[in-house]
Every structure is written in C-alpha cells, then in structure tokens.
Symmetry: C2
Subunit: 705 residues, 2 copies
C-alpha cells in the first residue's frame, strides 16, 4: 500500500479538533465527511464533547479502540504539535493538518511546522498541509469529502493539486456547474511534507487518473528531480497529461506570492523552463485549465495537425478556423470521395469544403452524415463540431449522434455548442459521455491545439546524447586559484582558458601594457584586431568606452590605445587597469548569447538568445535547467523566435546549430562541475556556417564562494 | 425622426411572408414579436391565410388600411423583390429582409439584392439585411423582438451589431444566462444598405446606448470615412465605447470568410489598423467581448493606472496582480493613513499592503471597511475585489456593501466572485446594480485594463498637424512620363527625385555605364561609395548580388563593377542592364523601413517597421490607413516593439523621431496625390540622431494604371 493511500483511501479517519459549533472548520469538515457518504469509519476527537452530529466523541486519538489510517487535525499550531505526537503514538498512517498559522505567518508557527515535519519524517508518516483545504476522493468505493467545502464533485479521471485552499472552493463550485468530475482532489497548502511531485507519482500510478491539473504558487523542491520524473510521466504511449496554472508571473505577482506563502519565488522564466522541460502545459487562466482538462480527459489524441470543422453557421466557423490556425492546427483538405459523399447528404447551398457548413436549417441527420464522412477521410486527424441554436436545430439529437459515432473512432472530436439554455440538454449528454464540449468555438479550437501539442510532446523523437569530454582539472585549477586569492571576476584571458577546457573555440589574444607592446602583438597576430580594456574594476567594458573593433594597422592600434585609456580613466578614475587586450577579429557568424546564472532556488540555468538588440528589446531568450542534454538543447535553440535566422534566411546557409547545441550542453556541465560559477556571459558567440563551428568573442565569469 | 428609428422603434409593423406553420421562420418571427409584448401594432401579410396566431391576415401590404413604419420581409429573393416594390408603394419607412439566398449565394440572388438596394436608395428607405436574424429593442417603451430567437434580452445600455445571424442566437442565450442587458440588438447580414457605421452613428446619438459590441466579418465601406467618424465617437468626455471581435484573422480564416459572405476580406493587419485608429478595442473571443462590455457599461473610468486589490484568499490575489500588470495596470502604494486605518478593522494576520488580504474568515464588515478605506486613498484609481466562498463568507452581504459604497464614488470597482452556486445571490445583486462581476480574477483584471485603455484613448493628447508642403507637380510629371511609356517600375534615380519632392533626404548618386565612368563619378563624389545594379528586369537587387557596400577607393570600384555585372548576368541572362549606380554611403543611423501598399478594399496603407531582420523574423511592423496625420504617425511609431531602439538604448542618443513622423505623413500624402503608386519601399531609411534628419538608402516604386 502506497503511503498516500492512507490519505486518499483510508479505512478509518479520526478528526482531531472537531467542533460542535456549525460554521467552524472543525465542525464543517466532520459534517462534510459524514454527509459525503464516506464508506469507512469516522471518529471525532474532542475532550470536551460527548458527541458531534450524533457520533460519539473520543477524548484523544489514543482513546479510540480501533486502528486509524488517517488523522485530520484542525487545531492551532501548539495543540496541533501535541496531536501529531499522539497520532504517531497511535500509529496512524497519514495526517492532514487543515489549520493555518504555521510557516506562512513566520515566527513560532514556522518553528512548530518544522518540528512537526521532522516528527513525521522520523515516523515515516505522510503529512498533507498545514494550511490547506483537505482531501476529496469522489470514487464510490471511498466517497471521501474531507474538506471544508460542502460540495462533493462527481467522479472522473482528472485529479487536482492546489497550493491555494481558497481557489479549491471556487474550482469545486465551477466544476459542479460544468458537470466536471474528479478522480482525486487535494489542497496541499504549505507542503511541509507531501508536495506536487509526490502527488504526481501517486497519480501516475493511479488507474483512475488520466489528467492532472495543478495550481502552483511555487515549486519548493529541486527542479532537476521534478523535471526528470515528470517528463517521463508525460511521455510515451500511455502518458499522464499535466496542465498547470502558476501564479506570480509578474514582478508584482511574485512579490505578492512571496509575502503570501513565505517561500522564495523563483523567476518566472525559470518556471517556464521547468514546465516546458517537464512536458507540462502552462495555462493562463482557470477557464483555460478546465478547457484543456476536459479535452485531455477524453483520452483521444490527434496523430496529425489536420482538422475538419463542421458548422451550421458561417461566422463561428471562421472564428474556429482562426483559432485553430493560431493553435498550430491546419484545415484538412478533403479527398474527392469525401466531397462526393458530402454532396449526397447536404443541400446544394451547403459548403462541402473545410469548414463544412451544413447550413442553419440542419437537423440531426446532416451532422451525423457529415461527421461520419469526414472522420472517414484519411487526411482528417480530428473534428471540431459547431452547433448554434436555430429554428431546426436538434441539440440533443445531434449530441446523441456524435456520442454514437465517437464510440467507433480514435480521432478526437470536440464540440462547441453555442449558447447556454437552448443547447443545455445536448451539452449535458456530451459531458456525460466525455465528449469535450465548449460554449464558444475559440475554446474548442484552442483545446484541440493543446491536445495536439500534448501528443507531439509525448511522442517526440529522442536523439542519442553527445559524447563530450572536458578538461575539468585545468578549469578547476584556474578557478581555485582565483578563489584562493579572493578574486571573484575572471577576465577574458582566464575566462577563455576555462571555455577552452569545455570545447569552445576562442580567439588568439594577448595583454599589452603600453602602445609599443600593443603594436607588436597586433603585428604578429595579423590585422584586423579588436582592443579591450582589462580591469577588475570595469565589468561592462563597452559602457566604459573600453572596446574598439576592427583596427586595421599599427597606427590605428596606437591611437586606439590612447583613446581607450582616456575613456576608461574618465569612466572610473580609481580603476586599476591591467592593460589592453589585443584580440584577433572574430570570423563572421551569427551573433548569439550564451550564459549561466545561478538561481537561489533552482541552481544554474543556461541562457540562450540571439545577440544584441534581440535580447535587449525583444527579450527573445530561453532558459533551461538540469537535466541538460542534447534533446533539451535542441528544443531550446528551436524555441526562440529568431531561430529562422540561424536556419538561414533567403537562401543564406544555415548556421552550425549542432555546435551551438553542444556548447549549451557543455556550459551546463561546466556549471555542474564548478558550482562556484555564479554568472557566465558569452556575449557574443559567433556561430559560423554549418560545419564551421562557433567562436567566442567575449566572455565574463563571476565566481562566488 | 432618424430613419433608423423606423427600424428600432416603429409604431406599426407588417410581417410579409408570415406563415401559419410553427418552426418556419415566417411563423416564428411573427410569434416572437407578438409574445415579446411589442407596444405598437402588428399586421401579418399572407394572401393564403385568414389569420396567424389569431391575428387577422392581409393579402398584401397595400391592403393594410393603416400606415406602416417597418416591413419585415420573409420571402425568397424573387418574391422579396416584389414585396419591396409593394412596400415602397405603400410608403413604409424601413425594411428588414430576413431571408437568405441573395449576395452570399451569388448569381440570381446577388442580382436581386442589387436591384432591391437600388430601389431602396431611390425611395430613401433604410434596409436591414438580407440574410439576417432581425432586430431587437428591449426598451419597455418599444419591447420589440423582431427576430427568430425566442429569447428577449433584458434592457441595458449596451447595443450589439452582428454580421452573423447565427452568432446572435448564441449571444442572446449567453447574455440571458449572465443577466446581461441590451439597448438595441441587430443582425445586419449582407449589409445591402444599413452597415456598422450607420448603426454606430445612430447608437452614438442614442441616449440609451453607452457601449457598442460589434461582431464583424468584414468592413465593406471605405475605411477613411469609418475611422474619421468612429474615432470622434470614441473620444472626448462623453465617448461611446466600441469593442469588437473580427473573425478571419488567420489566412485560412480569411479564406473561409470570403467564401461565406461573398465579400473581399482585407488583410488582417489592416483591420488592426482600422480598429486602432478608430479607438475600437479588439477582442479575441466572445467571452472577452462580454467581459469588456460589462466593464464599460458601468460608465466609470480610472483616471490613472494604479489599482487596489482586496481579497479573502492569497492565491487569487496573486493571479489578479499578475493579470493587472500584464494589462498595463500597477498596484497602488497606499498612504500611511490608509494602512493605519486598515489596521483598525482587519485582524493582525491580514495583509495591509496591496493586495489587501482580509483573510479567509472575513465576513461582510471587513470588505466594507477595507473598500471604503482604499477608495479614500488618493493613489488608488480603481479597485478590484476578490471573494472566494469560504465558511464565513457572506456573498450577498458583501455585494450589498459594495453596491452602497459604489454609489458614492467615481472610481471604478470590479469584482471577481469566484464560483457559481455559492456566490450566485451576490453576483445577481452586483449585476442588477451594474457593478462588473466576473467568475475569475484574471477576467476582472483584464477588463479593468481595458477600461483604462479606453479612458487613455478617449482623453489622449492631440498635437497640431505638421505644416508640410510638397512639389506635387514635379512628382506628377515624372510618374506621368513613366505611365506614358508603359514603364511600371521606378528605379532609384527617379524614385529619389519623387521622394525629394516630398521632403525626403536622399543621397548623391549617378549612373555609370562602364568602369571608367564609375571610377570618375566615385572620385568626384568622395569615398566610401555603394554600387547598385540598375535594370528594369532586376527588382530585388540584393538577391541578384547586385549591391556592394562600402567601397573605399577607385580600385575597389573597378573590381566591384565587374563582379556586379557578372552576378547580374548569371542571375538573369536576359536582363537589360542600364548600368551601375554609384551612391554615396549613407551616414550612420537606425535602419527602418517605410512603405506604401495598395489594398484592393481599403486603398493605400503606410507601413513602418524596424529594418532588416526585425521585419523579416519578428514581423515588428505597423500599418496605417487614411486619415493620416501627426497624431496617427506618432502612435504608429510608438506601436512597434522596437520603439526603444529609436528612443536610444543604454544612454545612446534618441533618433530623429519627429522627422520619421513627418515622412510617414508625407508618404501618405504622396499616395493620395498619386494614386497610381501601387507599391513603394524605402528600405532602409537611416534615421539619424535627434535633429539630424533621416536619409533614404534605397527606394523602389511600382506603378499601376
């Protein structure tokens, strides 16, 4: 028995801190379990009451004569701590602490939460909460509503994980209105023990769960473990699809999240990375979360991106076409046979091409024939059906026909039954048979696009990893020397040496102390050259006027030496200047940026983007965390909007993308091998034509102890 | 009396083509007017029936003994044409043709529609349709439901215009479910006569209409007239706010729209221009359309972008914060007095800073006190209230408190009452009192952002126009000469001359026929120079290898001459080559693109974007139509994502944006003065530093007859 079974399907429950007073959480949770028809046995614990809702009360959990699977604790922090000790003594298998006043308020509350967490770890008891709504399992085998929401949802194949308790009540209410069913429903609050990954593991193995919805405020465990496991769950032939909404995406939102949960909120770009790498679809609103969940819950996936649209009204058909295209889908081109067949059943004024317009006076039969016909077309991977209520419209009959046909096809069918009252019977029938149905065609099209995206992810091609070796020892020696001397910034010379250890191609360069040296070096190196100030006190060389490019002869070098020195002194009169670096001009290539930054929560992230203004104005960058590998690097490079620039525009040759991918993998390896690297910026890296590699043109590394 | 009054508020109506058979449109429309409680007098017309729904039938409209304001015609095209003739003879003031089979099917139907249109024009009778749902006016003074939807909406201050009839029934159904009221509701179908602008004019003068919702498939009249009038309606201190959804935004969608309405669908970018220039907020879904309409219908607008959020749950507060920031709003920073006041009423565990968390166990009083307090803070321009249903939550009480406080403030208040069943009483009360209320905080925040955007538009600063003069005569002479000779492509030499007539700064240039000439010209001009092939058969010079940049001396020019000639001949062996243009290298500046293109529906559009890859990969361009002017040009330049590049990044000096604005205005003037310009591309234009102007580096003009 998985230890989380004690929480989702306990045979006995003790409610500790039960209250006889209606409206109090301690009363309502007990009453909700009772009225929810829980199939196990329920024991209220309250030393000051004889009975609650006619059920005999016990003075303490240890006074209960039978073994207890799950303890629900509704008590303030200090009392909760004692109750936890009692529960451990009693030998319970799982606990849910509903009450608030712990980590989220800091101080004493946070301290007690830590103690409770430690006690549970030692006793190997799983704990949900504190500061949560509770647990719901609508399966008739269990029928458990251990929550302070009076509403028990219908059973279904979607499970829900929410960090926010308050959102749960609203979601349950919304779900009830939509006839939406759940497999398991849990609010995890402060996540002292059980968190999203624990639950995803459980849900992945749960035969009753096909789809997981998550409302996340922050991920409090290591991202690598989370990503490594979740990307397996969301892949393959029998994936568990995970869709999530993550709040705190804006700067102000992240601040609000931090004050709310008392947890460090990582940068939103890193959450994008975590979701993308895990194969989790990120939603922007609760509505979208439900829209997608409904689509995935039907368990049918398009094997291609071609859809057919059937409608009884032109306008909504156009809206659906628009949104389909925006969602990465295309309209299928029907075969001649399909069109011939459609002409048999549809009136001459109908549109036989995609989107098929069965015309406003269509009753059930036209929908039925058209649906069967387009499903039979090999070029059609999925069907979107639009029904608008008009005089002859038969919403219930059409729904019946759809249900019958859907039974015999693996191709997904989604519907938009527009309206509320006029079509409600049809909508209910579709919902009952798990045919996704939406109020408007744009939601239906977008959800179909999400299905396709999920399918593409699950069946993505996995390439063998690169076989790369590094000179870790040399790199370590350089870094250790810096740390020993208390120097935290590596300039270009040493930065380049480290990059060379990791397979990067750097430019010949040498430090000059004066004009004469500069000219001598440049003459030997060959023109044109680049000159850059070297000073531990000037990090942003360009801003200080400390960089000059494309010097063609020794006269130019001489003048440039003077200019750079003057500007550097003007920029920072106290700067210690080591000299000026003479560097060979980089061969041509596409300018990209590669970088590393260390997030206090998630560790090192690799950054990649097109260089210059693309990063600065268009924010066209991507981040990735561990686990890094060839596939992650490839998807990362492809994910930026400027990717076509690397592929080559207007007959231009493609850039060496494979080398870029290798460099991304190597950078992450460098971060893993030398965790004292706080920040690294290769800006720019020139990526040459295919097969020609890439050249580092500038590097800055910052260390930390 | 406005002639549209006959359609929205007739005193007498004849229904021509009425049917005694239930389910037929001719029956249902009549029955709907009757059961809708129409306050005027209704006359059914059918030569074959004695009465319909107990009302005496007339054999023809001319047989009716009383004058008729509005004729509703439900007849196939040929019969409809005869009915129209009868109506004109009878002297009706307005007509609605509901039936389909006209322009949208082409052939005979399209011909008859044209005839009917001409008849109405001559008789000065306004016509709605054909191919439409009808007209609804829920005002108790009229109570007219002349549509084939059985549902009469509640009265309200939002009017609706739909090109699609089918969408109307769904929208009415949806509105009924949301308790949403309408002032006027009309479906305009093929728009043979009455179209969006006619209705906007009517609604603008209608004291019962504050907000207009439009569902548009295409705009069939001139954009200039539309924009000029609508931007006035949406501006000033008493604007009519217009929100619209336009289908056909994707390529496939536009194709579907064309086949559906038989109309030419202009490019979607031009619709963006039309909406932006008119001050119409464009929505992406019907849900959003309703969300925004609800917010605008409350008639309160934020005078700044600072909002306060009040919530009884942390998670939704974060979601609202996120979406507010994404919608262009900021969280207000409360004054010390506000925080002191909040601490009086709220428990110590509450969050007194924005977003204010009144904590899960908040009843009505905490919401009431908090709302009153934050509204009193001068830094707060609007308030967003979130209520999640929890044990102590008093949805109806809180709603009452909000309604009472809202009466005494001009600051907008929007609510998110999360859930459906648990909060429905409160939601209904808010809706009754026109307080915008949403199911989820993201919709509330987005709608508040839309309110702010509408307010900013209505009160935008209008700058005086530029005073520019052009040498139209010289430009005309050049163009006429080309047209006379049947030449349709102007090269750089003549293109530059035309640009000069319109105040553009061009580069010295001269055509060379051979190497010797080339060197001589370059020597006189001064180095560096650019060389470009000149051939009427080579339009895309760069693709043909016909451009070389930055030649430093005569030797370089000589070599370049040979190279360009060779490549041009390889590119197109049959090309007639006039020579090679020697041009002075343009002084430095930011690379932008300016262009003109002629849309078959909307005429000339000006295009502006950042040059090079920004246009090609990031599609960072904007289009504008007539009426062009300084304000339009300014907003156009600001609208591209790359605008910060022109403003100057990292302490860089700003570019000469005013010159750019003048050039945009001048280009449009050029298009107006010389409509035979089919396409014009200035690519690139180098915009120099502020006050330094801009220089054309390349120009191509195509003409048409």
């Amino acid at each position: 028995m998985d230890r989380l079974d004690a929480i989702f399907a306990p045979e006995t429950i003790a409610v500790i801190g039960v209250s006889t007073q209606k409206g109090k959480v301690g009363h309502d949770i007990f009453a909700n379990i009772l009225s929810g028809g829980y199939t196990g046995t329920l024991y209220p614990v309250n030393p000051n009451a004889k009975s609650v809702s006619s059920v005999k009360c016990y003075a303490s959990i240890t006074a209960i004569p039978d073994p207890i699977d799950l303890a629900m604790i509704i008590l303030p922090p200090k009392a909760a701590l004692h109750a936890v000790e009692d529960c451990i003594a009693k030998g319970v298998k799982g606990m849910v602490i509903v009450s608030a006043g712990f980590k989220e308020v800091g101080g004493e509350g946070a301290k007690i939460e830590k103690e409770i967490k430690a006690l549970c770890e030692t006793a190997k008891i799983r704990l949900v909460g504190p500061n949560c709504l509770g647990v719901i399992n609508p399966s008739p085998k269990v029928s458990l509503n251990a929550s302070f929401s009076a509403r028990m949802p219908a059973p279904g194949n979607v499970s829900f994980i929410s960090q926010s308790g308050a959102l749960c009540t609203a979601v349950l209410d919304y779900a009830a209105d939509k006839g939406f069913g759940f497999s398991k429903f849990i609010s995890i609050g402060n996540k002292a023990d059980v968190d999203e990954l624990d639950l995803l593991r459980y849900y992945y193995n749960d035969p009753d769960t096909d789809v997981v919805m998550i409302y996340m405020e922050e991920l409090s465990r290591g991202a690598e473990e989370f990503i490594s496991e979740v990307r397996e769950m969301t892949s393959g032939t029998n994936p568990t699809h995970v869709i999530a909404i993550k709040s705190g995406s804006s700067t102000a939102g992240a601040k609000a999240a931090a004050s709310h949960t008392g947890a460090l909120a990582g940068s939103d770009a890193l959450y994008d990375a975590i979701f993308t790498m895990s194969g989790i679809l990120r939603c922007v609103s609760v509505n979208q979360l439900f829209d997608y969940a409904q689509a995935f819950a039907a368990n049918k996936y398009p094997t291609g991106d071609k859809i057919a649209i059937i409608t009884n009204a032109g306008g909504p058909g156009i809206i659906a076409t628009d949104m389909s295209e925006q969602s990465g889908l295309k309209l299928a081109q029907f075969s001649e046979e399909t069109i011939k067949e459609l002409k048999k059943y549809l009136p001459p004024t109908a549109n036989f091409y995609n989107p098929v317009d069965v015309i406003g006076d269509a009753a059930k039969d036209r929908y039925e024939n058209t649906l069967a016909t387009v499903l039979g077309d090999r070029s059609v991977d999925a069907v979107l059906i639009i029904l608008t209520p008009q005089s002859m419209t038969d919403a219930i009959g059409t729904a019946e026909a759809i249900v019958n046909i859907a039974r015999n096809t693996l191709k997904p069918i989604v519907c938009a039954f527009m309206g509320v009252v006029d079509v409600s019977d049809g909508v209910k029938l579709l919902q009952k048979h798990k045919i996704p149905v939406y109020q408007f065609p744009e939601s239906a099209a977008r959800s179909l696009g999400a299905l396709r995206e999920g399918m593409k992810w699950a069946s993505r091609k996995i390439l063998p990893q690169f076989n790369l070796t590094y000179d870790t020892a040399t790199a370590k020696k350089i870094i250790d020397q810096y740390l020993k001397e208390g120097r935290m910034v590596l300039g270009e010379l040493d930065g380049n040496k480290i990059l060379q250890c990791y397979g990067f191609n750097t430019l010949p360069m040498e430090l000059s102390k004066n004009k004469t040296e500069a000219c001598k070096i440049a003459d030997q190196m060959g023109y044109p050259v680049v000159m850059k100030i070297v000073s531990p006190d000037i990090l942003h060389k360009t801003d200080a006027g400390g960089v000059m490019v494309g010097l063609e002869d020794s006269k130019g070098v001489e003048q440039a030496f003077e200019t750079i020195m003057e500007k550097a002194k003007a920029y920072n009169p106290d700067a210690h200047i080591e000299g000026i670096l003479i560097q060979k001009l980089a061969p041509k290539g596409k300018e990209v940026i590669l970088g590393l930054s260390k997030d206090p929560v998630f560790g090192h992230a690799v950054m990649f983007g097109l260089g210059g203004i693309f990063v600065e104005v268009y924010k066209d960058v991507a981040f990735r965390l561990s686990p890094m590998g060839r596939n992650v690097a490839r998807r990362m490079v492809k994910s930026v909007k400027g990717y076509p620039i690397l592929k080559g525009l207007r007959g231009e040759k493609a850039s060496d993308i494979e080398t870029l991918e290798k460099h991304i993998v190597s950078l992450k390896a460098m971060a893993d091998n030398h965790p004292m690297i706080k920040e690294l910026d290769i800006n720019p890296l020139f990526v040459h034509e295919e097969g020609e590699g890439a050249t580092v043109a500038d590097i800055l590394i910052q260390l930390e102890n």
